[in-house]
Symmetry: C2
Subunit: 432 residues, 2 copies
């Protein structure tokens, strides 16, 4: 049916995502050929342990990824993950004019500039929809649909493991450690959960999102990062009392006007109102809000991980780069002309929630309030409730520089009338 | 700064959207040039009444759209709306290799095949993100991001006017006529609201969405269409009693497997659970769910209309077609290879809610239930409540062919023990 020369595809890796990519390539071969204008031919699959892939035709399997990438292929799909040897393989592929589709968030968050430079040197395409938020179309909307607008903010839940754990802590009141154990048992957390729970995975995604949203270069090292291991049942309870819930958020902000502007990129747990659309995003789902000058607020929601959803994003990119091979066109390259500095977290304007156990006597509120005033931190809401000789004092601030908020909390903790700082958590979402 | 030859742009129309496009072209000129790789130069703006556009540089204004389209321009942006003379202008532009960006849903829903054929004849681009759901990236995700997946269903709220009216009826209990008056007074409904309230606008969008989601041709005439004028306060009250709310939905479904498959495309009011994410989409906002085999469920949410949001979508497309002009590439053309038949509404499986006022005596439920059984319609839930000599009987069915449901209701209405059919409404969303 198709007289066009096939698009020859090299797969690097064949784990959860790769297996699904191969399945869909086979099941949807006719549709893909019709949509691309040429059939796709799987030229080889590079893996480390060949005997582990009995479902892949054995003549396609190779352990020599380097030779596969150098062979006569048009497109390289990379689903191995990690930095090396993948970086070298993909740079070599791109330099040789082979378009690359990758789901590798860690690599992109660190070495996007190298990869794009290699792509530019040959005119190859570099697509990476699957690197952020799984099946949710997010990279393409930011790189293309909103290319005529000025994006000011991207905020979302981009890690399913931490979202599962925080949702479970919210509904059970259990500790972080207990809930992580449960998540591991159910397969929602990996054997080594560090990348997820310490926020590295979300920070890589935040770096990618900030780079494409703001037309600048942000790497994972630029992202302020706090994981969820320090979230306590007291934090969860304090959030509930305020009609809020705790989510691990990735937040990318454009600050100031274009000439003297900067960006702030951070990943940390935050309290959001239970009425906020992100509050009801449960389990392994991801959701991302985008704000742009002309478009206003947009939300994207869907499955953020898993073999088939991620494979859907990989295949969408594969169709795009294959169509470009057929038509002679090229997709968007790196757009980093804005070259905006990254603002350190100390200077970023945030809002804090602080719960204090204080002595129930006259003058306590005044002492605490004066520390906030000293640091120029304006208080948005106070709730004091007595409990015998103790009292609980909950304060939610207005926006202030993070370092001012942090110093305020430190100084408040040292006040003689403050018995304990029960919970400190940043606050996001609509004003209360 | 830019040495590239400018991309010359012809604007057809300068109303609410066009004015915003011109503003953003000016305000973001440097960013657009950096993102495209060449500056954009506005070559002319065709309008009917030149004196009505004092803000547009007068030397750019012309009443001769035909001459402007034939002049030395690279891209035509069309924001006039309606079928003629726009169809002729755009076909002529595309045949002459000028790429077209349009927000014209009515034109695309009727004449997409002509427009794509003209684009194919010269290799020009035809982009239309702004034609559906305003600023929400939806056309590009369906045409490109999900191009490697099999989309099975698209369901959403794609008309802000009717959503405003139904939301207001839900919160006030007022009649349709009263609420429409209020909507007109507040500027949420046009002087002639027919296109919105009778579902024509949503039907055009549904035709476009079904065509691109299912790789087939669906025109507005293929779309089953019911507006909201017949929605009564009794319907609204019945929905509330069941924990549901009424929304005007555009629903595109792929039915059966690929070889013998078909599509069903419909626009009608439906009850959805109040817990469904579409239930909380209020006012002029739009939201669309997409289901695909590999990606699972996705949701897209944002402003579905208005000058600036629609202009954002137009400019995103402008950057894409201008980049293609610079790089020599081409975006996706028509993808209608699947050529699926459209299933008539009579055969489409739907679910009904029926509220009946019945005589409160023995045998009524049995008589009603036997009519459902005769028509092979399975009942999902029944709620009977007595009120003196009368009783109310509420029935929610399982899925059945629409004609069977319709015949069932007609026959039930003729039963001697049935005083009145108080409300009939299709039911969508999760199973109750």
């Amino acid at each position: 049916m198709n007289v066009r020369k096939p698009i020859r595809l090299a797969m690097l890796g064949c784990g959860t995502v790769g297996t699904q990519v191969i399945r869909l390539l086979d099941e949807q071969a006719d549709d893909l050929a019709a949509r691309i204008g040429a059939p796709v031919e799987l030229a080889g699959v590079a893996v480390r342990r060949p005997h582990r892939h009995p479902d892949v035709p054995q003549h396609l399997i190779t352990t020599d990824a380097d030779a596969l990438v150098r062979s006569d292929v048009d497109v390289v799909v990379e689903v191995i993950g990690g930095i090396e040897p993948v970086r070298g393989l993909l740079v070599s592929a791109l330099r040789n004019g082979k378009s690359v589709v990758t789901a590798n968030k860690a690599l992109l968050a660190e070495h996007a500039a190298d990869l794009f430079a290699a792509a530019d040197s040959s005119g190859a395409d570099l697509y990476f929809e699957a690197a952020v938020a799984g099946a949710i179309p997010l990279v393409r909307p930011l790189r293309e649909s909103l290319a005529g607008d000025r994006i000011t903010r991207v905020m979302g839940i981009v890690n399913g493991t931490t979202n599962f754990i925080l949702s479970a802590m919210d509904s059970t009141g259990a500790s972080y450690a207990e809930t992580l154990d449960e998540a591991s048992r159910l397969g929602y957390a990996e054997a080594d959960p560090t990348a997820d729970v310490d926020g590295y995975d979300a920070a890589s995604k935040a770096a990618i999102l900030a780079s494409i949203a703001f037309h600048t270069r942000v790497t994972a090292a630029d992202v302020y990062r706090e994981g969820i291991a320090a979230v306590t049942p007291a934090d969860v309870a304090a959030a509930k009392t305020l009609g809020r819930t705790i989510k691990l958020l990735a937040i990318c902000e454009r600050i100031g006007d274009d000439a003297r502007g900067s960006v702030a990129v951070r990943v940390h747990p935050a309290m959001i109102p239970r009425t906020h659309p992100l509050a009801s995003v449960g389990g392994a789902f991801n959701a991302v809000f985008v704000e742009a000058d002309a478009a206003g607020s947009l939300m994207f929601y869907g499955q953020g991980a898993g073999g088939a959803p991620t494979a859907s994003a990989v295949l969408g990119d594969l169709v795009a780069v294959a169509r470009n091979k057929v038509s002679g066109g090229r997709g968007p390259g790196e757009s980093s002309y804005a070259a905006l500095p990254v603002q350190p977290i100390a200077q970023v304007n945030t809002r804090y929630h602080v719960s204090l156990d204080v002595a129930d006597r006259a003058g306590v509120l005044s002492a605490v309030a004066s520390v906030f005033a000293e640091h120029d931190v304006s208080i948005a809401a106070v709730r004091q409730s007595g409990r015998g000789s103790d009292a609980s004092l909950v304060i939610v601030t207005h926006h202030a520089p993070d370092e001012a908020l942090r110093s305020t909390v430190e100084k408040v903790a040292g006040l003689p009338s403050v018995r304990e700082v029960a919970s400190v958590m940043r606050v996001e979402g609509e004003e209360p």
